[in-house]
């Protein structure tokens, strides 16, 4: 231990130690990973455009939603060739994202001959992938080109329509919109949109002549909705606060901590990806439709846990470590550090996030009602199903008022907390 500082400087042969081995393997893998990433992105970009075109053409020629326009081998061939051409003769998306460009020795711009050689060589090294193991793949050596960080020194960046990436994004948007409009907009419904506006007239008229007899029962349902949001939020807080400490990267150190962090974050983001409505249909079957509000609460609860934990954990990740140091330095123990260094920094943001989530939950609670999750949403959907426009309009007005009021209230409270 005494000669430790020397030990740091003079190591045994590099490739013998695990660290040394890692040092040798890492750059190879990194170089490979980067080149693979570039190729993968380009293939993806070209492929996606091709698929979008297929959707458009298929819809118009055969009236089908289908991505098969050509046999798969043609699709593969065209994609690969286009990607290769793009990489060799333009500045492809992959290179752009990796912030690299192809340059000759000494930073000279590549000549056409070099580009052709790069294109040809590409087929022999990149396609079978083995060529990428070498630090400088063979096609790069043959062409005398290498990817270097983009330097803008002494150059005027061309306008976007002169760069291939700019053109690509434009083409992508155009083709994407074309495919999107052709598959989602059908003639029949478009016709109706313009010719059947009168169908909603009844609705608009009803909206402005509310049915007063249902106001009181609707207010009761509103109350149920509010309480659904309150219950879901408060139960979610109880779970999310402890979880947030496990989901904060700066607190979860070490291999075990990393493992917990990663699994928890993954699970939470899956929970968050499923809309509360979907949760609600699952819970409705589980607890039976007789307890609809409870199912709604459970659905909102699950979604809120995921959302709140993420918000809380992000806040925890940005706390000032200085205060923790200061309190630790006074000889305080872990609990005291938590109480005096962590809690004061997070309490107000936590409350503010909770209010925000409560606000969202009220809105979602009305929506969850639509699948039978109880509260005002259920009533609204009942009227809508029975084409009782006047009653539906009344309920909608009430919902809008409630949402406004809650929005305003929670914004005011949050402004006060900040």
């Amino acid at each position: 231990m005494t000669n430790y500082p020397d030990g740091i400087v003079k190591d045994p042969p590099k490739w013998l130690t695990p660290q040394g081995l890692l040092d040798i393997v890492t750059p190879v893998l990194q170089g490979m990973g980067q080149r693979l990433g570039v190729v993968f992105l380009d293939l993806l970009a070209v492929g996606v455009v091709w698929i979008l075109v297929s959707y458009t053409v298929n819809w118009h020629s055969r009236g089908e939603i289908s991505y098969t326009l050509a046999p798969w081998w043609l699709f593969g061939l065209v994609t690969v060739e286009l990607a290769a051409l793009w990489e060799s003769f333009g500045h492809s998306l992959g290179f752009k994202v990796a912030r690299r460009e192809l340059v000759g020795p000494g930073g000279a711009p590549p000549t056409p001959g070099q580009r052709v050689r790069y294109f040809l060589g590409w087929h022999f090294t990149v396609l079978p992938l083995v060529g990428l193991v070498f630090q400088r793949p063979w096609h790069e050596r043959w062409a005398g080109l290498s990817p270097q960080p983009i330097s803008l020194e002494g150059r005027i960046p061309p306008p976007w329509w002169r760069t291939s990436v700019g053109i690509y994004v434009a083409v992508f948007l155009v083709v994407g919109l074309a495919a999107a409009t052709s598959t989602t907009v059908d003639e029949e419904s478009l016709n109706r949109l313009f010719t059947q506006a009168w169908r909603t007239v009844k609705f608009w008229r009803a909206l402005f002549s509310p049915d007063q007899s249902i106001i009181l029962p609707s207010i009761r349902d509103l109350l149920v909705t509010i309480f659904m949001a309150v219950m879901a939020t408060s139960f979610a807080v109880v779970v999310a606060v402890p979880l947030s400490f496990l989901a904060a990267r700066n607190l979860m150190r070490g291999p075990l901590g990393r493992l917990i962090y990663t699994t928890l974050r993954g699970a939470l983001s899956i929970m968050r990806s499923i809309e509360p409505i979907v949760w609600a249909i699952i819970f409705l079957v589980w607890v039976t439709a007789r307890r609809a509000p409870f199912a709604g609460v459970l659905a909102l609860w699950v979604h809120s846990i995921a959302d709140l934990t993420k918000l809380y954990a992000e806040r925890l990740e940005s706390i000032d470590p200085g205060l923790i140091e200061a309190i630790t330095a006074t000889g305080a123990n872990r609990l005291q550090v938590l109480r005096y260094a962590v809690v004061p920094q997070i309490i107000n943001p936590y409350i503010s996030f909770t209010l925000y989530r409560w606000d969202i939950n009220i809105r979602m609670a009305t929506v969850v009602g639509v699948v039978g999750g109880g509260g005002i949403g259920q009533r609204l959907f009942f009227y809508l199903k029975n084409l009782a426009w006047q009653q539906a309009g009344t309920v909608m007005i009430l919902i809008v008022i409630l949402v406004w009021a809650i929005d305003y209230l929670s914004a005011r409270l949050r402004a006060k907390l900040a």
Binding site: A180, E188, S189, R192, P217, V278, W286, V287, T288, I399
Partner: protein
Amino acid sequence: MIWGYVAYGVMYLLNKYWWTVPLERFYSTLSLPSWGWPLTILGTLEMAVLCRNLGRSLGLRAFGLEVWGAEGGPPRVGQRLIRLLAWHFSGLPFGVGVLVSPQRAWHDLVAGTVLQPSPPQAARRRAWLSQWGLMALLLLGLTIWLGWLIVHIDIGVLFRRGEEGLRIWREMLRPDFRYFAVPDPVFELRNLPYSILDMAVVTLFMALLATVLGALVAFPLSFLGARNIMGFSPVGWGVYFLMRGFFNVFRSIDTMLWAVIFAVWVLWGRPLAGVLALTVHTVAALGKLYSEQVEGIDPGPVEAVVAAGGSRLEVIRYAVLPQIAPAYWAFTMYRWDINVRMSTVIALVGGGGIGDLLFYYKNEGDWAKVGAVVMVIVAIVWAMDYISGRLRERIT
């Protein structure tokens, strides 16, 4: 003070019904027997009085006042009790005691106390011990208690029907991907011969179209809804309020409700209805975010362009746009994310997309296929969330 009363009043009222009305159906939540109302009002007042005199009520706190003994120092317990009793005679009958001698109300005279501005730097009691903190806790407890009853929370049922729940989960976790790429034959009857993959693509297209359309419409509107651009002329004010009102009203009607309207208008179950619903909500939501961003710009560059003789459009092009562009992109990405999420379920109210399959299979009770659809949804949402997060990171 009023706020204190209202808060206590509402809570007390809600509390009250539980004692007097047996809760069979939650539709009867607000009904009180005829004698309940006076009792409620009396109880509320009594509570307010207690708080006023034993601690510092919310009202007193809001005005920065405190009850003090006449000879200085905090009032003794006896003084507080006397004040409490006296308050019923001076405060309750429409506040005569206060009205007659506003300087020092009757109950203060009797108890030998005064109301004073509280000294700013006095050592306060700990918040959690003070009446305010206690009140907050009490309110919270009451709310949860009430909520528990109103919502009919019954945790036991989760276990009693645990079998059922487990079955759903088990089936969903063994998803049936048979119809991932080929259309499910049962749909031939519904005239919707689409596979899960087709529907996933349609869903993404719906979100894409709605976001692009929404952003395109919201962009010019946002300038009309920004006060600093519209100026202070009567026309400017008018347009500003019109735009803001439009944004607010249309935003607070949920996408799902818009979908219902459009589903009636065009055809039920067609993606176009969903696209339109998403677009309308997107315009309102983005318009509000955008215009707030425009209002928050640094006026320096605007002055510079105006000073150089720029027209209003030139001001927007050279002074405003560069400042707001990153935030606009970020908001649009964020909205794209939300639209993807919404479009997965909008089918429920006739909006079309992958949700159509989800709810169809659910009604069939075919949980294995529901599981497959849910997994596809998770994959889509997750991937889009990731992409939009990465793009937002790069932009800002």
